[in-house]
Amino acid sequence: MNLVRLRNFAAHKPVRVALFFLVFGFLVSFPFWASRYWVDVGFYVGLYALLGLGLNVILGEVGLFNLGHAAFWAIGAYTTAILNVRFGLPTLALLPISALVAAGCAWLVSSPIIHLRGDYLCIVTIALGEIVRLVLINNPGGLTGGPNGVVGIARPAFLGHVIRTPMDFYFLVWAVVAVCALALRQLQRSRIGRAWNYIREDEIAAESMGVDVRALKLLAFVLGAALAGLAGNIFAAKMRMVSPDSFTFMESCLMFCIVLLGGMGSVPGTIVGAALVVLFPEVFRPVAQYRLLFFGLALAATMYFRPGGLWPRRRAVEFLVERPGR
């Protein structure tokens, strides 16, 4: 029961503040002492954290099985790529536009399917992810460049400073993650966040209490897709090219695993999950050929030993009962 004691210890306010600054200090100082390679790895942790946070809204908060989240990531990335390469719009300015386009597409496609439940929604989102990927490959109107994708995306510039090195991108992605994480924490505690959790726990009871289930589910989908759109923009800017290979079903599965590994509905958990999913193959690079083999086993083992995820969200009731020393 050491874990419980550890958690109770971590619930003390001074401890929490100290922990926060420790993590914050680590993240800020990391690119100054780590090698470029590991800074790049840090960038990918941030990128997947952003994707995980988006899916966490849909899957973690509302409990909608979405196994096609890579579709919205792809839409964000291709929006950036096409608008930048064809129309010369600055890449960083496309950050909010990519989010909006992804959100708009999410609203369009999820409106007719949002009433589906559980596994049926799951298969439809899988189909959605595949449709988007196949459309990108098939190059409608010569817009998406087919299997080769779109190349030559301009580097983003912030107030005249061109974002180019791994360190620049590291700070860009983690700044976006920080803003989104804080916003999502606030949202969790709001009326909307509580209604989402109510839907997840018991949809019918929520509806009978006057919660607008449909509107709130749509909102979650749109918000989650918007975050994926942001990630798409940053990804496109970093890679300077986009191609359909990056947005496979496997990526959607990884995001799904990030949310469940971290703990459904837990913002810090999602970031931990992202770190795990990105770092695991890196740490196992010496046995490169077998690393995904172990990764598969690790997924199953984690679910066996910590079914609630690595950093499960504390429930409000739990806080009321056992929150010590405050």
Partner: protein, 303 residues
């Protein structure tokens, strides 16, 4: 007319593959309410096991018993090996986890899928392997300009026979009644003295075995196999399962055949590059208007 019939035949053949794999999904879903994401890769494993047996046995067995002695051996080995793999996965990765909840079980299933496809890659290598001429029935019948391959007939007949056997076992035998009871309500069935672990083991042995047979057939039909084939066919077969109505044996068959026909006809008449888009769009449309699939029964919402 000729191309239409030819496309129809192709569609039926591809549809049989999907139906085979879909049966496994459906059986396991009916009993555990779990999408067994590893099922597609079990299908891939079957293709590789069959390949290995054919390669090593084609010398001795091929010479003494001929092709028709070799084939049953390959199929039996693939089916048995994959059934064992299915049982091990159930024991190791699902049984400890599914009492905890459905989402952890989904992650565990995804983990097993990743594990299996990489296991195949580690053992057999990442490159395409070719099923050789020597262990494929290559004969065909010519009727006018119309060509029927022996292999196609073999695939169609065996899918019908195996479906019939499975349907008979589940619908007409005492054990089948136990399977249906567990599918309806596991706890009540257990209280009635039904050994539900036995039923679960049945599903995890028969489903992957059918998948393995399909895997060997796919290898013979397309002449090449790859470690990623499990994802592709798994996804299509799962689509077929949903099309027909999940947890329903004839439904899986109908869904598979329909999907195959849809694919062959769109590939033949509209566009080969867009065929998968049509398939998935059809699935979405169907689910919007008929959320339980074509043959799925209306299930009362549990409150």
């Amino acid at each position: 007319m000729l191309t239409f019939v030819q496309q129809l035949l192709n569609g039926l053949t591809i549809g049989s593959f999907y139906a085979f794999v879909a049966l496994g999904y459906s059986l396991i879903y009916a009993i555990l309410k779990l999408i067994n994401f590893a099922h597609g890769d079990l299908f891939g494993l079957g293709a590789y096991l069959g390949y290995t047996v054919f390669v090593y046995a084609s010398g001795v067995v091929g010479r003494t018993l001929g092709l028709w002695g070799l084939l049953p051996m390959g199929f039996a080995a693939a089916a048995l090996g994959t059934a064992c793999a299915g049982l091990v996965i159930e024991r190791v990765a699902y049984r400890p986890i599914y009492p905890i909840g459905r989402l952890p079980a989904v992650v565990s299933a995804l983990g097993m899928a990743i594990f299996l496809s990489n296991f195949i890659m580690a053992v057999w290598g990442p490159r395409y392997l070719a099923y050789q001429e020597s262990f494929i029935p290559t004969g065909f019948w010519q009727i006018g300009e119309f060509k029927i391959r022996v292999l196609q007939v073999l695939i169609l007949v065996s899918s019908l026979v195996l479906l019939g056997v499975l349907y008979f076992v589940v619908e007409r035998t005492t054990f089948g009644a136990a399977v249906r009871a567990v599918a309806l309500d596991r706890e009540t069935a257990a209280l009635m003295g039904i050994d539900f672990l036995k039923v679960i083991r049945f599903a995890f042995a028969v489903g992957p075995a059918l998948g393995a047979i399909a895997g060997v057939f796919v290898g013979m039909y397309y002449r090449q196999i790859n470690f990623t084939m499990g994802w592709v066919y798994g996804l299509k077969a799962f689509t077929a399962t949903i099309l027909g109505g999940i947890g329903n044996i004839p439904g899986a068959m109908v869904g598979g055949i329909l999907l195959g026909l849809l694919e062959a006809l769109t590939a033949g008449y509209i566009s080969a590059a867009w065929k998968d888009v049509f398939v998935f769009a059809a699935l979405m449309l169907l689910l919007i208007f008929r959320p339980t699939g074509l043959l799925g029964e209306k299930v009362a919402e549990k409150v």
